[in-house]
Subunit: 207 residues, 2 copies
């Protein structure tokens, strides 16, 4: 497996574009874009803490930054975890279609492949909440960074959802698939709107 | 200056979150997210070319991939170019407010700082067009990657626009500022809708 997080940014996009085997595609890219969005939130915090003008909100900002640090590390880890979670599915596709054990192996592999993009979605939602607070309380000088950050996390949320739906679609256990899809749909419906509201708030401060 | 494209993905998000001086913030991050989106488009192409099922569209896909390669390199270059374009503005802020030359230096610096995010926007729009074609003609197995790619380019477009508006807002020459803002607004209005349409098309194929 190619460890994407240790590639340089230039090498990573190069490997991604040539579909290097073992490198996660859209799922891993969603995780990285989410981590970039999270980092921009932390950047807003870094540019706020220690400034006299923002002394009143400093404790809140530090609490947000602690949560953002954990979520950024989680998202970075999910970048390569997505490639690993895809491996059993890639193997399952290789099982002959008339093998009686194929269906059960495939079903389990689809569940595994769904898990990481769902985690990416959950983390992106949490970061969108943090960015809402940062857009309100963070340094006015860095407000555009909060806006870019939240729109990156929205892209991570939407991107990862496609990697959930592509797997649930093929599941035989429809009750399980629909439960996962319902969770994904709920996250999309609440947090895409929330991200748009934060972006709108930032834009209003900027223009 | 810290050369962001040669940092590993993990180091880059770490530097971004601690607001390392000389590293581009939201502008550079938008460029990288655009490059990731472009790479996902190329990945769809890489997984399509050479497949018998897609022989009819192979020449079109190769032409799209050539354009995507150039745009990916351009966006990666803009990642660090954004940090360089911000330097004169950072210096201009340091000029004493009663210096009679300050206004002219500041105006020129604002124009320079606007230029790179505008280029990021233009490149993202071109990639969204390419991804529309890839979502139609590319391998069905990689359609989710086309969807993640287009949503990343939409985030790059919207993110970079904030870095245009934050600079045009402070310009004294309102006619120039409004010209730039009109170009940015036109790109946002046409290409955000186009990206949503491509994403919707992908989602329809997936669910």
């Amino acid at each position: 497996m190619t460890e994407a997080i240790h590639l340089s940014c230039a090498e990573y996009v190069e490997c991604l574009s040539s579909a290097v085997p073992g490198l996660s595609g859209g799922g891993g890219a969603s995780a990285l874009v989410g981590a970039i969005g999270t980092a921009l939130g932390s950047m807003v915090g870094s540019l706020t803490v220690g400034k006299k003008k923002y002394a009143d909100v400093e404790a809140d900002i530090i609490a947000v930054m602690d949560k953002a640090d954990k979520l950024r590390c989680e998202l970075l880890g999910l970048m390569d975890a997505d490639a690993q979670a895809f491996e059993p599915l890639a193997k399952a596709y290789g099982i002959p279609k008339d093998d009686p054990g194929r269906a059960a192996v495939m079903e389990e592999a689809l569940r595994t492949a769904c898990g990481v993009p769902l985690q990416i979605m959950r983390a992106a939602c949490q970061v969108i909440e943090l960015q809402d607070e940062l857009a309100d309380k963070g340094s006015a000088l860095a407000v555009s960074d909060a806006g870019v950050g939240v729109i990156c996390c929205k892209a991570a949320l939407m991107g990862a959802s496609l990697n959930v739906f592509i797997n649930t679609k093929s599941m035989a256990d429809r009750a399980y698939a629909e439960k996962i899809e319902a969770e994904a749909d709920d996250m999309l419906s609440v947090y895409c709107a929330r991200a748009d509201a934060v972006y709108g708030k930032v834009l209003k401060k900027l223009r």
